[in-house]
Assembly symmetry: C2
Homo-oligomer: 336 residues x 2
């Protein structure tokens, strides 16, 4: 299994520092989550029937014509390569944008497809000159923050649809830049859009995400994922979060401001980072050393070891966290 | 997708009676669930890391050497046919005991395997005389309550293991008859045991179950299911339920007594039923009429339409429920 952020148990074991004494910046999850209401008395008890209220709340929030609720974007990331195999009866040529969230390439490869990783600026050429049936990207990208304009995505969708192919757009970090989203057009043939309540709403423990696609594909996906894949409480809490316009507006303002604060703090320490309001990333030359130095200060960051390597930092949850990060960065800057 | 019990929304829509006015007996879920403790503050927020406490609590309760937590038995039922396909590179000959929980045959067929359904009393012959690689059964069975002795299951495991095959034993309703379980031996090559906290603990909304099998197969299954498949609160509530020996002992006594009460009530209405303490089932000749008559009284039961057809009834949650069921059965008995 791939390694991911959020693995505080590993941090605690490796560095001998108790879980409670870490500042966890290793994910891009909003550190101030939506205040989950207590689920109804029978939510843990009953088999969770499909919730039309949840899917309607999601369609309203994401401005999408039709969405399928899934047990986290991860469930869809795992299912799509299998569905493609089932549909075609043979492996497909797949381009995965690079670098992005590693589960995409991992799952397409594991299903037996021929996967090629292509940098964002080479996608257009690779798509037009090659014969790939599937193109996968994150928009905005995790971890670099790179974005692709909706017009470009729609052009790529048309090219792929003409080949019977798919454009898979993972918008897990799309909540702070609605203008870049193609969710509203996700019922177009060939387009598949993934959304998540884990990041912006800070509800990664819910295991809840959504898929927008043409109706026939959504039905096939629903059948593949089977009944009751989303817990009853996740349905209720997700519905409340997706409907709460006041919290959403306030959170958007906070995240835009905090994201800027993180960017500026890093710049003051000579680090030119990019990303989204929920995280900053840079291709650190001494990535392993930086990661270890932060860990010694009890700050858990995400180390990327592939390619040139890099570091991703999420937002501290409070002023104590900002101070601790600042102190750790000072120590790093003043190293011998 | 297959139809299942617990679909009160369908009942409400079809019969125009509000959800809250139904006595739902359509599942075999304990109507008095384990009182779920409130999850910790960050359980909805953080990515749910693998919980060793949960898996240890499950090993202790199920008396199993090693278990993998899964997002409901359903997740494993869907994954196993895919893993088999991946392992063999071609479809297998599969025998599914009949009648059992319909998702088993459905999922093996959907993955392309050659599935034959064989009644419980024909399994031994079919296994020895045929060349099947996989045999799937529920023990005790849902819905008939039929059981197969552990010695027989171990003999079948040995036959299948010698062919490189699997015996899949779904013990979802095994909590009231620990003596029939083979969970303690589930690390034997060829044996796969499924357990669920949905039924006995009444926590179907958690989406939590366990798989016991040889270590290499558990690793392959864990990789297939991917990271974070179980929500954080499900881990915490599941751990508490699996550790609570006092609640478990009291619940076992209650269910044995209530199951007997249901069996006797049906017998008084001329119905010879079989099952487990959590449900009773019989091959009703007028199944559709019985189902409709109960629905008119606001009692939602499970109708089986395949083969000879049949009816399954779960336990009422309280005395008002018992009275309502009794009244509905009286009306049915006295029909013109």
């Amino acid at each position: 299994m791939l390694e991911h952020g959020g693995n505080l148990n590993d941090a605690a074991r490796h560095y001998g520092r108790p879980r409670t004494d870490w500042l966890d910046l290793s994910t891009g999850i909003n550190p101030r989550p939506y205040p989950a209401p207590a689920p109804s008395a029978d939510a843990w008890h009953r088999l969770p029937e499909t919730s039309h209220a949840l899917e309607q709340a999601a369609c309203d929030y994401y401005r999408a014509p039709r969405l399928l609720a899934v047990a986290g974007t991860q469930a869809a990331i795992q299912a799509l390569p299998q569905l493609r195999l089932q549909q075609d009866g043979r492996p497909a040529e797949v381009i995965v944008a690079a670098p992005i969230y590693a589960e995409h390439a991992h799952c397409w490869r594991r299903a037996g497809h021929a996967v090629r990783e292509v940098p964002y600026d080479g996608l257009d050429t690779a798509l037009r000159e090659g014969r790939c049936q599937v193109l996968v990207l994150c928009n905005p990208n995790n971890p670099t923050g790179a974005t692709v304009a909706p017009e470009t995505l729609l052009r790529w969708t048309a090219i792929l649809a003409a080949r019977g192919g798919w454009l898979v757009v993972d918008e897990a970090f799309g909540d702070t830049s609605h203008g870049d989203s193609v969710a509203a057009l996700s019922d177009q043939p060939g387009l598949i859009v993934l959304r998540s309540v884990g990041k912006f709403f800070g509800l990664a423990g819910l295991r809840l995400g959504f898929v927008g696609a043409a109706p026939a594909l959504l039905e096939t996906l629903a059948d593949w994922l089977g009944p009751w894949s989303i817990s009853g409480p996740a349905q209720q809490i997700g519905t409340a979060a997706l409907r709460d316009r006041h919290w959403q507006a306030a959170t958007l303002q906070t995240l835009l401001s905090e994201g800027q604060r993180l960017h500026v703090l890093l710049a003051r320490h000579g680090i030119q980072a990019s990303g989204t309001p929920l995280f900053q990333w840079w291709p650190e030359r001494e990535a392993a050393a930086f990661h270890a130095a932060m860990a010694c200060e009890g700050v858990w960051v995400r180390l990327f070891t592939r390619g040139a390597g890099g570091i991703r930092l999420g937002l501290p949850p409070d002023e104590a966290g900002w101070s601790r990060l600042q102190h750790a960065l000072n120590t790093w800057s003043q190293r011998g």
